[in-house]
């Protein structure tokens, strides 16, 4: 459903992506792993329309995005949970979830919210709390649930384990596995290769704006990836 071809993204004179290509099939879980500064966040931001590409193409269901605005790409069924979670801290958990369902047509929002609470029960107990007072792990659950509210066909998650305690990372991992099990395609960008490979069927390894290797998760062991990072 997603085809990225020779994508180049620049910030002024600095080229952050040097011609990245990748694909994500319907219902597939794919990881982008790589060290800090590899261009993972820039890649996701370019796919979701927050950053305009300098060259190359992003195709969603065969439609070339070009200079399509982020809100239009979201309406095509692409949800992006950005780095840092971007919780609307002055809105309640309920309002955050309702905003996640903003592009859902007509009714069905409450029903979808109930499904999200089934998936992440901790949110059900905190619906009237402000998003900003949740713990880091709860905020990550909320960010993922909010991304899923609109029934996306592709969920892109940037650094889901960032800043979380190891025990909470385990909870997030379980949550991601549950999302993958629902049949939603997932593209996860993560420094923690172990976590990413546990969730994804396939992975792309990025280093300084380029994809340096890719393959099935089972074939990419963590030690080999570490060597690639450090090369």
């Amino acid at each position: 459903m997603l085809v990225v071809e020779s994508l180049v993204t620049r910030y002024g004179a600095v080229e952050a992506l040097h011609g990245v290509s990748l694909t994500v099939g319907t219902g597939e879980a794919v990881a982008i792993v790589g060290p800090n500064g590899a261009g993972k966040t820039t890649l996701l931001r370019t796919i979701s329309g927050l950053v305009r590409p300098a060259a190359g193409t992003v195709e969603i269901d065969g439609r070339v995005m070009g200079r399509t605005a982020a809100h239009r790409i979201a309406r095509l069924g692409v949800s992006h949970v950005p780095e840092g979670r971007a919780i609307l801290s002055t809105l309640t958990v309920r309002d955050n979830l309702l905003m996640g369902g903003y592009r859902l047509p007509g009714g069905g929002v409450e029903e979808r919210m109930a499904e999200m609470i089934d998936l992440f029960p901790v949110l059900g107990r905190k619906l009237d709390d402000l998003g900003g007072v949740l713990s880091g792990g709860e905020q990550q659950m909320l960010a993922i649930a909010r991304g899923l509210m609109a029934k996306p066909r592709l969920l892109m998650i940037d650094e889901p384990s960032m800043g979380l305690a190891p025990r909470i990372v385990g909870d997030v991992l379980e949550a991601l596995k549950r999302v993958v099990a629902t049949g939603t395609a997932v593209l996860v960008a993560e420094q923690n290769a172990g976590l990413a490979l546990e969730v994804a069927d396939r992975a792309y390894v990025m280093v300084v704006g380029d994809v340096v290797t890719s393959g099935n998760s089972a074939d990419l062991d963590e030690n080999r990836l570490l060597e690639t990072y450090l090369a």
């Binding site: 809100h71 992006h80 002055t90 903003y102 007072v133």
Partner: protein, 290 residues
């Protein structure tokens, strides 16, 4: 008692002003120094309609639409490009000051810097008596409009899908876009509503004074900002309460001290309130965990 009524009457003007400003400044966080000029242009549009024999309610609507459209044009032509470049807040202040000067100059030239008479026919005039006190009709209508506007805004922002989108854009525009919200459309709607409310305030101020000039709104901008700070940034209810409190303070200061010290006492009281309660009467501190 009569002084309190007079204060509430003055405060109703301030409350109406504050409700318009709170949407763009209090909610979206944009300090629009051209708001006073938009208010004045709205008053002149209504005046032009009245001169054509249009009935008062329709003339008010004409003023609101004209000011709303002008406000949206200001956003699209000047502020949206600044947002696209992620310009610092200071750029917005300078840009809106520039726009206010342009709008003032055009109106001053068009009116030859003359004050125009604003017809009061069709507006509520005189006063009625309650418990032996005079209550001015025009100000009662203004207060009623301010309360209706407040209730409407509060309902829209807190209870509707598009109101939630406004709050999402105000909090983080990028995140709102990722959730499918057309943030430019949200800005346009907010500027239109704020412009329309500014026009209502301007028209009633003009009707109250029975005159309007190119500089009618100038003195009101600082008052509007003070009202928002006193009531609490982003609080629609705070704009009404802040406006009424400021009005009462000013009238008390004039009656019991001297009109010379009216503004000094009013702003010193605001300062004292803010020292005790930095977020104003109804402002909320942002809760965030990092």
């Amino acid at each position: 008692m009569q002084q309190t009524i007079n204060g509430l009457a003055l405060g109703s003007t301030y409350a109406l002003l504050g409700v318009g400003v709170t949407l763009v400044w209090g909610v979206l966080g944009i300090l629009n120094f051209a708001h006073a000029q938009i208010l004045t242009w709205g008053s002149f549009a209504a005046l032009a309609a009245l001169h054509l024999g249009v009935p008062v309610p329709l003339a008010i609507l004409v003023g609101m639409v004209a000011a709303g459209v002008l406000s949206v044009l200001l956003d699209l032509a000047v502020l949206a490009p600044l947002r696209a470049r992620k310009a610092p807040e200071f750029s917005f202040v300078v840009a809106t000051i520039g726009v206010s000067l342009v709008l003032t100059t055009i109106l001053r030239t068009y009116t030859d810097a003359q004050t125009e008479a604003f017809p009061r026919q069709g507006f509520p005039v005189g006063a009625f008596e309650v418990a032996g006190q005079n209550v001015p009709r025009l100000q009662v209508v203004m207060l009623a409009i301010a309360i209706v506007a407040m209730a409407g805004l509060a309902f829209w922002l807190n209870r509707t899908r598009s109101g939630r989108a406004v709050r999402a854009v105000a909090h983080n525009r990028e995140t709102a876009e990722l959730l499918g919200v057309n943030s430019q459309l949200v800005f346009s709607i907010c500027f239109f509503v704020a412009g329309g409310l500014a026009a209502v305030a301007g028209i009633f101020v003009a009707a109250s004074a029975a005159q309007v000039s190119y500089s009618s709104g100038d003195g009101l901008l600082l008052v509007a900002f003070a009202v928002i700070i006193l009531g609490g940034m982003g609080s629609v209810k705070g704009a009404i309460v802040g406006g009424l409190v400021l009005g009462v303070i000013e009238v008390y200061a004039t009656s019991y001290v001297s009109s010379v010290f009216r503004e000094i006492i009013a702003f010193a009281t605001i300062l004292a309130v803010l020292v005790a309660r930095p977020s104003g009467f109804f402002g909320k501190k942002e809760a965030a965990r990092v």
